[in-house]
Symmetry: C2
Subunit: 201 residues, 2 copies
């Protein structure tokens, strides 16, 4: 019988505290290794190709840094508004602009998850990437609410400049699809993928 | 009903004539786009990580060059002898050295196949990579046979310096696993992967 100590390590290739919390909620034990890649969108690259490529490149980068067994989970989340990717706002002006754009309207949040296995079981995928898309409709928040939210400093490490789970601002009126996807890691998709790649939680 | 014309294009990201022939034998119609990537093995990179990475990077490279629908198939094949990757020999001396190394002994041939879909169906993988490994045992060919084979020019575009299907040299005594894998594209694995990604042959 295999004991827990026999199990190869699970590595989260992300420095996002939200992803760490979501993964912990699955009862997984894991270590964290921050990927170091160029995260810029290429000229003409469609949003869904872009998010997929980043999650794959993060996984490859971290895989190069670990010992010879393990499973790497990498993810990238983008906010798409009318086919334009909204990244993390660099300053208050950009955050204000994004939150104006999104107000009262529908946009998409897409996370690409990549699993790459260093332990290679015959007949199982050695790399697997899936996209999860959630339609998010924002409520009609006021300019004053935007300014108060920006003053908390919360928008600056978040794609699209907001956190769905922020209790005071609470900017989202309605979602269609995975909620955890909007936080940063779609747990339903991840659960399916772990099964496909042969990882027992 | 969908007609054949509705079907998004299938793109083979490889310039290998063997892969083209094997794919044709499946009855697939496809176009060819040659990937342009750095094919060098990184320092300390294990052979199976290396072949996986190349197949993924080829797929990403070609995906950037195609219109907005389609399925990209990329593959990379390596020959592994005692955990060392044998690439394509650059000259007759290197080909001779490789064929001496392999003579009368067992080595592994590994192909990584990556499928990346530009058409994204919900609930299907958007990128999928599998490895196929075949154990190959060479026969005890003579030095004269090696020289005659090198003189045909056949070894120089082949990993490990040989083609299993070369009728005169016919260097392989025995295989365990997929034969088409040794030629360059394991058709059994490919068939399964096309099913997983939702592509009807």
């Amino acid at each position: 019988m295999k004991t827990k100590a026999d199990k190869p390590p699970f590595i989260l290739a992300s420095s996002s505290p939200r992803r760490r919390e979501l993964l912990t909620s699955l009862g997984l034990s894991f270590t964290i290794l921050k990927p170091e890649i160029d995260e810029n969108q290429r000229a003409g690259e469609p949003p869904l190709d872009y998010v997929r490529r980043l999650s794959i490149e993060k996984a490859i980068d971290v895989l190069m840094k670990i010992p010879q067994t393990g499973l790497v989970l990498a993810a990238d989340t983008i906010v798409i508004h009318e086919n334009i990717v909204l990244g993390k706002p660099v300053d208050a002006n950009e955050a204000r602009h994004m939150l104006h754009l999104l107000r009262g309207r529908k946009h998409q949040v897409c996370t690409a998850i990549t699993l790459m296995s260093v332990v290679r079981e015959p007949d199982l995928p050695t790399s697997l990437t899936r996209l999860t898309i959630t339609d998010v409709t924002m409520r009609d928040y006021t300019d004053a609410e935007i300014d108060a939210y920006i003053a908390t400093g919360d928008p600056f490490d978040k794609a699209g400049g907001y956190a769905i789970q922020h209790a005071e601002f609470s900017p989202v009126a309605h979602t269609e699809g995975s909620y955890s996807n909007v936080v940063g890691l779609p747990l339903e998709t991840l659960g399916e993928m772990l099964g496909e790649i042969g990882w027992k939680i």
